[in-house]
């Protein structure tokens, strides 16, 4: 028996050798805890669970209709100095896809087509727009949908913000809104 083998292992080494198997099992189990959120997000982004967490429903805008939904049923998210934003998804009706040039979203009635708000981008079956939510937005505010057609026409429709995003109204009240 050599001299080196007689040296007793350090307490840390003993602890490691005793528990390393259990620690590794734990490392395998930890990701399992995130699985429900992962599958929820995966189905949300793939569209398997619809346009978003909070479906607002079908909205008629002139001769056209679109389905509108909030991607997340939660408070607006901060984007640094640019303020807070809320992501909305929309799908155009199948017959209006070829007729619609652009869809805009804005809090309050747009002053002009140039300032019609944020533009929806993406495929007509699932477009997204990141709507800025000023902290001084009134809780009775309306969100305006402006659709520009290829024929040059412009159609508008409004729905209450309280209906479009109850979570945003709750957040605005926390911000001390009017």
């Amino acid at each position: 028996m050599s001299k080196a083998a007689a040296v007793p292992p350090s307490p840390l080494s003993r602890l490691w050798h005793k528990w390393r198997f259990h620690l590794n099992i734990l490392l395998v189990l930890i990701p399992l805890g995130f699985m429900p959120k992962y599958f929820h997000d995966a189905s949300l982004f793939r569209g398997d669970s619809g346009l978003g967490e909070h479906e607002i429903g079908e909205i008629a805008v002139g001769p056209w209709t679109l389905q509108l939904a909030e991607l997340r049923d939660d408070a607006p998210r901060a984007d640094g100095p640019a303020g807070h934003f809320k992501l909305f998804n929309a799908a155009l009706c199948s017959t209006c896809i070829n007729e619609v040039k652009a869809v805009y979203l804005r809090i309050g009635k747009p002053r002009s087509l140039r300032a019609a708000g944020v533009l929806f981008s993406g495929t007509p079956y699932r477009m997204s727009a990141n709507l800025p939510i000023p902290t001084n937005t009134r809780s009775d505010a309306q969100i305006w949908i402006t659709i520009e057609g290829w024929d040059g026409s412009m159609q508008q429709s409004a729905i209450p913000l309280a209906k479009a995003s109850p979570a945003t109204i709750a957040w605005l009240q926390q911000q001390g809104g009017k």
């Binding site: 984007d79 640019a82 002053r111 140039r114 300032a115 708000g117 944020v118 533009l119 990141n130 800025p132």
Partner: protein, 107 residues
Amino acid sequence: MTFKACRLALAIALLGAAAPALAHNPMCQCEPIAGEQIKCTGGFSDGSGAPGVTLDVVGYNEEILVPGKLGEDSSLTFKRPEGEFYVLFDAGPGHVVEIDYADIGEP
């Protein structure tokens, strides 16, 4: 051991270096400055500036009072117009920021 620690630190540093997807929402701030002037600064939320981007001052009657473009420092200074107006930072369709005159305040 030191080598192992260095490798671990490098791995963690590399993970941290993976840039998260950055949105680039337009933003614009206007402040009153001396001499009845207003200075507006534009940019994007990913930190980039907006030199050369259109910034118009528009009256409530939709008449363009001050047509302008942001300078090299992403800002524009103009004389405060009379009456009701809003500042429109226009980086293209859907990339606009409006600032009402009531939100600019007095110096």
